[in-house]
Amino acid sequence: MQEAWTLTKKELQSYFDSPVAYVVLSIFLLLTGWFFSNGLFLENTASLRSVFDIVPFIFLFFIPAITMSTFAEERRAGTLELLLTMPVRDWQVILGKLMAVTLFLLVAIGMTLIYTFAVASLGDVDFGATFGGYLGLFLLGMTCGSIGIMASSMTRNQIVAFILGFGIIFVLYLMDKVTAFVPGSMSGAIQYLGTDFHYQNLLRGVVDTRDVLYYFSMTAFAGLVTMYSLARRPE
């Protein structure tokens, strides 16, 4: 566990040592700020709803961008060999990377707390829904992060990793919106697989274990696939 945390710190350090973190964070704030102030000033609603609605959409692009290098770059540069010949288990390496991505997303999400304080100072905040929303963003971010990492572990090309990660995250995001096209008997299952379906549940301010469990099992599944693709070492 100690080793995973060491790796997490190193990964975070390299995000903040490079322009990546600052570009991503400023654009993230700019976009969420735009949607928040639209609601606030144009529609006169002191609500975080517009922010919570737009973030999953931003994640769609940002998470693959953050995660595309996690393993693809290590594979390309040969540092994967260095990492995997250290006395750590493969899953600790994956966990370390996932924690770094998740913590970075938490920083981004945390910055939107400014909007929460703004709303709180102007009107009533629905604490249940806000808590559910933040919890949802955290779980969604972690899940999409693990999928991005999984995509990155399959290739040595960062662009391929980005497209692959984006594709999978996008399909999962759309899953509950295409139920009209599948046979009725399957629609429940298809809907259940969608990331947005569970996010919308949490947004209502109801924290249901099933939703939380969904995100953790998706993350675990992506982690397992990542372990499998790391075991298939480059030749």
């Binding site: 080793e3 060491t6 190193k10 490079s18 540092t79 060999e81 260095l82 006395p87 750590v88």
Partner: protein
């Protein structure tokens, strides 16, 4: 102590390593020699637990790479081929990161980094980002990284590739110094390197072991006889006398205007033929001007063993 038993590694249907067995004793510096693509790197990757063996067993200090990979990894310091490094990190941070991952206690890390900086000559670049370093310095960072946790065994894959001659000498000196205390396996396709730094040499070709011994053993057993340059000032009688001996072949002879003739002789005898030649000259009253035996070198051995 490393024991490799019947190691085979397949990539698809191709056998990169084909039934290799050898042992490395503690404190030995072993040179792994072979043409490019012979299976040196693959063997090292199996020993360091990066690749699983297809067949056979590999044990490091008694730990099996299949069942005790974590223990095996703890015993080993590894410099992979082409020295992969996190280029965006500063040398100090990088070594600190590796030390932490390698389980060096946090209060000992600074001390270890300082030691490594001294051993590898990194003192002046500790605060620089690795991407700003020359190839030679990067190689030293790679070596420092491999030794930071003070492992018993060092595995170095082509540690001098891409360095200039001065840097090569420096790195070799470093390896020699390290090799006095540790078990070292180093791979190379550069022959003088083995002669310069290794106690023992394995030559590997197309995934198989073709030779195993000290550099001197290999030279002795594969020299294919000896070559001697023998210079005398005397008449034409010398040639006929030499040609008459059954244990000698005259390969060529060159006479210069002053009257000195230099013969290049070869012999299949394993003992030194120079004393005989000296006595021959004394007997016949020839004036001896040159007597030199060419050392068979590893290069000959290597070519002989790995030629198509």
């Amino acid at each position: 102590m490393i024991e490799v038993q019947g190691l085979t590694k397949r990539y698809g249907s191709e056998r990169a390593v084909d039934g290799i067995s050898f042992e490395v004793k503690s404190g030995e510096v072993l040179g792994f020699l072979g043409p490019n693509g012979a299976g040196k790197t693959t063997t090292m990757k199996v020993i360091t637990c990066f690749l699983p063996p297809s067949e056979g067993t590999v044990r490091v200090n008694g730990y099996d790479v299949r069942t005790d990979a974590l223990e095996v990894k703890r015993q080993i310091g590894y410099l992979p081929e082409n020295t992969p490094l996190y280029l965006d990190m500063r040398v100090y941070d990088y070594l600190g990161f590796i030390a932490a991952m390698r389980g060096v206690a946090s209060d000992r890390r600074d001390g270890r980094i300082a030691d490594m900086a001294e051993v590898c000559g990194l003192g002046s670049v500790l605060q620089k980002p690795i991407e700003a370093l020359s190839k030679g310095y990067r190689q030293r960072v790679g070596l420092a990284q491999a030794m930071i946790h003070d492992p018993e065994i060092l595995i170095l894959d082509e540690p001098t590739t891409g360095l200039d001659p001065n840097q090569i000498v420096e790195i070799r000196e470093l390896i020699k110094a390290v090799g006095r205390e540790k078990t070292v396996i180093l791979s190379t396709h550069i022959l003088p390197e083995v002669q310069a730094s290794c106690d023992r040499v394995l030559i590997i070709h197309r995934g198989r072991l073709v030779a195993d011994g000290t550099p001197q053993d290999l030279k002795d057993s594969f020299s294919g006889g000896q070559r001697v340059r023998f210079g005398v000032t005397a008449g034409d009688a010398v040639l006929s006398t030499l040609s008459g001996r059954p244990d000698l072949q005259v390969i060529e002879h060159v006479t210069d205007p002053v009257g000195e003739t230099v013969f290049t002789l070869s012999s299949d005898r394993h003992d030194d033929i120079r004393p005989d030649l000296f006595r021959l000259a004394v007997e016949h009253g020839w004036t001896l001007t040159e007597l030199h035996r060419d050392q068979a070198n590893l290069e000959d051995v290597f070519r002989q063993l790995t030629a198509a």
